[in-house]
């Protein structure tokens, strides 16, 4: 049994490694697909903005990083090495290594998408169970229809409508950024430390200001609210539908009849017996959707000008910074692959019935 699991995991890992290589190949193909000479294509946005010498320097740098002009196989190897070592080159616009810029933006995307995914799973699953309790009633069909409709709404439109209502008319929430703009002048100091050193002692005093801490948290939450609301409304419906579908299958099982016959309350039948058994597909798709965290927010982050990876993609399109685009795409793909491995392994561990094949 254990041997089976181990070889199963090993198999998935090998498969995923092949996948990563294939994704890099795809990236390489996109690079090659650029019309004309990639060097010219990548430096086109600077024509007329910086001096010809600087453009020449940029081109030389690109040639050195990506190996354009080398024979094909060497180019490919250089490309592979660069992506595997997170050497994506230097952002044309930010004039900073892309990996560094990316590290600055990833936390915001994780915050937004992580909380949105978690919230929509919680809401979706709870509502799904509640709907099952009232199956066949108007609540049931209403919930199914509204999840279908909400899921087919374009996210960016939902975001724009929220902007019109909550920013345009009511002015309750800000329309851009991840924190109040005024913080750029001085950040709230929740945790501060002062150190005094005398000849033979060093005393450090920490102070924690709860008011400042609340300001900090409140500022972030205030800016997080609208994008979070948009994403949650958009995605909780699919969780509701999934929960409802799996629960429908589960409550037809014999052990549910037994549980009812024992005289358990409907509540404990649903949550302790049915939901537990129906949770397998829920857990795996949760793992998958956490993998898509980095990719899911291009639209929402753009609508609310949130400084995450998705917003960066849009900015890079505007400035024709294709190196950034491809680096972000690569990182997102890797994330998805990792999530797939995790989901597969989770599935293998949780469900002992699975055949490791």
């Amino acid at each position: 049994m254990h041997v089976g699991l181990r070889s199963y995991i090993l198999k998935r890992l090998v498969y995923s490694f092949v996948l990563v290589i294939l994704i890099i190949m795809l990236n390489f193909a996109i690079f090659k697909m650029m019309p004309g000479d990639p060097i010219q294509f990548l430096t086109r946005p600077f024509q007329g903005k910086i001096s010809p010498e600087e453009i020449q320097a940029q081109q030389d740098l690109l040639r050195q990083i990506w190996g354009f002009g080398d024979p094909f196989h060497i180019q490919l190897v250089k490309y592979l090495r660069n992506l595997l070592t997170w050497n994506f080159g230097i952002s044309i616009v930010g004039k900073t290594p892309i990996a560094e810029l990316m590290a600055r933006r990833i936390p915001y995307t994780l915050l937004l998408l992580g909380s949105a995914t978690a919230l929509s799973i919680v809401f979706g699953v709870l509502l799904g169970v509640a709907v099952i309790q009232r199956r066949g009633t108007i609540w049931d069909s209403g919930a199914v229809t509204s999840s279908l409709v909400l899921g087919s709404l374009p996210t960016f439109w939902l975001g724009l409508v929220f902007l019109v209502v909550f920013f345009g008319f009511l002015q309750w929430f800000p329309n851009a950024g991840a924190f109040p703009r005024i913080w750029a002048l001085g950040w709230p100091q929740a945790l501060s430390s002062t150190s005094k050193s005398s000849p033979n002692t060093l005393s450090i005093a920490f102070s924690f200001d709860i008011g400042q801490a609340w300001t900090l948290v409140g500022g972030y939450l205030h800016h997080l609210f609208l994008p979070l609301l948009t994403l949650t409304i958009f995605s909780f419906g699919s969780w509701l539908l999934l929960t409802r579908a799996t629960m429908l299958d589960t409550i037809a099982e014999d052990y549910i009849v037994t549980a009812r016959a024992k005289g358990l309350t409907e509540r404990s039948v649903l949550y302790r017996h049915a939901l537990k058994n129906a949770s397998l597909p829920l857990i795996t798709s949760a793992a998958l959707s956490f993998g898509f965290i980095l990719s899911g927010a291009i639209i929402t982050e753009t609508v609310f000008t949130y400084p995450g990876l998705g917003g960066w993609i849009w900015e890079s399109i505007q400035t024709l910074d294709y190196q950034v685009l491809m680096a972000v795409f690569y990182v997102i793909s890797i994330c998805v692959v990792v999530a797939n491995i995790v989901a597969d392994i989770l599935y293998g561990i949780i469900d002992p019935r699975i055949k490791y094949g």
């Binding site: 087919s152 439109w157 019109v164 920013f167 291009i298 685009l325 795409f329 793909s333 998805v336």
Partner: protein, 575 residues
């Protein structure tokens, strides 16, 4: 013989089955709702010109690029809704002040212009003179030969010093709010006797003005020597005299003051001193025409004079001509001024069913024409992806072994790639034409369907009737086409319906991100413009396109669900 006898019965059988299927489909409430919505959108997509007189970008068909109204205006019907219900009674509408600017006529001659004369020697006549130059924008629909001729003349031996004539129209401005822009026009031609230097014996000073009756008149023409410094020139951007509120939002890109074809060298602060030689060679490029085509935009960041007030009232738009006769009394003198295309358009702060975008283009027309791209793209992508999915699913399922393994792993990889980021990168590199979008969306959308087909084929392959066909000696291709494909037909129908919503929303998302075909209007592009214009309170701009996207997507989802119920008897019994 048998074949001939069989064929009609088989056809009848197929038709009968299809009729039964349609009957079930139409009895289903979901499919009926879905089909109705789809039918409505199809009509809009096929004959948009029945619903709007404008082109796909919301421009006048004869005058592309000329705004239909001010920028970011509201729908007209908002005027008639009381303020406490969210309406805006202070909106104004477009107003063409002159009925016939192409042929200005005095009221005396059944026209619309009044005149006052102060001084001697002035005669006003109609003229047949046809001005063959290009009509100014905004006045094309009034193109008509004919002009107004104002002539100053005297015999030799006297000097009249100064004679003054004003030709004007008094009009009612009935709205409770100011207009968003105004667009005035006048074209002048001057003829007359000249002295040895070639200058007019009686030069004429021309001033075009606009203002409230009894109030201060604002000079619109001649242009100031320095348009930025001369604060007496109103710039179309209007401010409310009573409330002090600025007029409606006018974007700074309309701020440029356009003095088309006005020649400054020989017009000194409105004094016209030289003469045209021949009417027939006049065009807007020649010096002999003062074509003060004025499009008064708003200069940013400076206070602007006020022309209109929020109190409905009478206004005057007119032209004043002062003939100066001081030079030479020893010969007969005459100067004629021909006036043509004398008009004024007041752009309102409301327009049409849905208002306008920031370029003054009709949003309703954009919405109607946007249907076309969404339906076309949605259907094409569905057909393309279902075709690819069918081919791959059938091949993988029927061939089995290595082919199956390879194709399915390939499918898995494509399923795993994050869709929108990949699409964004590819469209950014390849260009955002509609064909590219269809191909990319089709190539990235077949995987789920291929998997379904494969599993279906795997189960059908083992059925006795396939074995029987094999035993009879049927070839692979024959078995696939006449035994396997019919059994996946329901799946094809359902997937065709279900593939459309994703494609429609993906197109909208890409257009919204800025990847749109500049010659086509789409719902996503409308929302992109909304986002760019930053018109955060114009809900009439943002709600309809999104609602249309959602309605179209939901219609196909409903149809797909209905097909699922009709074609899968198991589901039908459960309901």
């Amino acid at each position: 013989m048998i074949g001939v006898a069989k064929r009609p019965s088989k056809l009848a059988f197929t038709l009968g089955r299809f009729a039964g299927f349609l009957k079930l489909l139409f009895r289903n409430g979901k499919s009926l709702a879905g089909l109705t919505i789809i039918a409505i959108f199809c009509v809009l997509a096929v004959v948009p010109q029945w619903f709007t007189p404008f082109n796909n970008l919301g421009q006048d068909i004869t005058e592309r690029g000329f705004p239909l109204a001010g920028g970011s205006t509201a729908p007209v019907w908002l005027r008639y809704i009381p303020a406490w219900l969210g309406g805006k009674p202070t909106l104004s509408e477009n107003m063409y002040v002159f009925q016939n600017p192409g042929y200005p006529k005095l009221r005396r001659d059944d026209g619309e212009l009044n005149f006052t004369i102060d001084g001697s020697g002035i005669v006003i006549n109609e003229s047949d003179a046809n001005y063959p130059y290009v009509q100014p924008r905004g006045f094309l629909k009034f193109a008509e030969p004919g002009s107004l001729n104002v002539t100053f003349s005297r015999e030799e031996g006297i000097l009249y010093n100064e004679s003054r004539v004003i030709i004007f129209k008094e009009f009612d401005f009935p709205y409770l709010g100011v207009p968003s822009r105004f667009y005035g026009n006048i074209e002048l031609l001057v003829k007359g006797t000249v002295d040895v230097k070639g200058e007019l014996d009686a030069p004429v000073k021309v001033t075009v003005f606009l203002g409230p009756v009894g109030g201060r008149m604002w000079r619109l023409w001649p242009p100031p020597n320095n348009p930025i410094e001369d604060s007496r020139v109103p710039r179309g951007f209007t401010r409310d005299l009573v409330t002090g509120q600025p007029g409606p939002i006018v974007k700074p890109e309309y701020g440029a003051l356009v003095w088309d074809n006005a020649s400054y060298t020989w017009v000194d602060r409105g004094w016209i001193t030289s003469v045209s030689t021949d009417i027939s060679v006049i065009d807007s490029e020649s010096n002999s025409v003062v074509n003060a085509k004025t499009d008064f935009g708003r200069p940013p960041n400076r206070p602007v004079p006020m022309v209109f007030t929020s109190v409905p009232g009478k206004y005057i738009y007119g032209v004043e001509m002062i003939f100066s006769d001081r030079k030479n009394s020893s010969k007969p003198v005459s100067t004629s001024v021909f006036i043509d295309d004398f008009g004024l358009i007041l752009f309102g702060t409301s327009f049409g069913f849905m208002g306008t975008d920031h370029h003054g283009q009709d949003l309703f027309a954009q919405l109607i024409y946007g249907t076309r791209i969404s339906i076309y793209l949605g259907v094409m992508v569905a057909v393309l992806s279902v075709t690819i999915g069918l081919a791959i699913g059938l091949t993988a399922g029927y061939m089995g072994r290595v082919v199956d393994e390879l194709l399915m792993r390939f499918t898995d990889i494509l399923l795993m790639l994050p869709g929108l980021p990949l699409l964004v990168v590819l469209v950014a590199v390849l260009g955002a034409t509609i064909d590219n979008l269809i191909i990319l969306l089709g190539l990235l959308g077949w995987m789920g369907f291929a998997r379904m087909v494969r599993s279906q084929v795997l189960s059908i392959k083992e059925r006795p009737f396939v074995e029987a066909a094999k035993a009879v000696g049927a070839g692979r291709f024959h078995i696939i086409v006449s035994h396997v494909v019919p059994s996946v037909m329901p799946l094809i129908y359902i997937s065709l319906a279900m593939a459309v919503p994703g494609a429609v929303t993906a197109e909208a998302a890409l257009s919204w991100l800025g990847f749109y075909d500049p010659f086509r209007m789409s719902w996503g592009r409308m929302l992109n413009a909304f986002f760019e214009a930053n018109a955060t309170t114009n809900w009439w701009w943002v709600v309809p396109p999104g609602a249309c996207i959602a309605a179209l997507a939901a219609a196909f989802v409903l149809l797909g669900y209905a097909l699922d119920e009709v074609l899968n008897p198991k589901l039908r019994q459960r309901r």
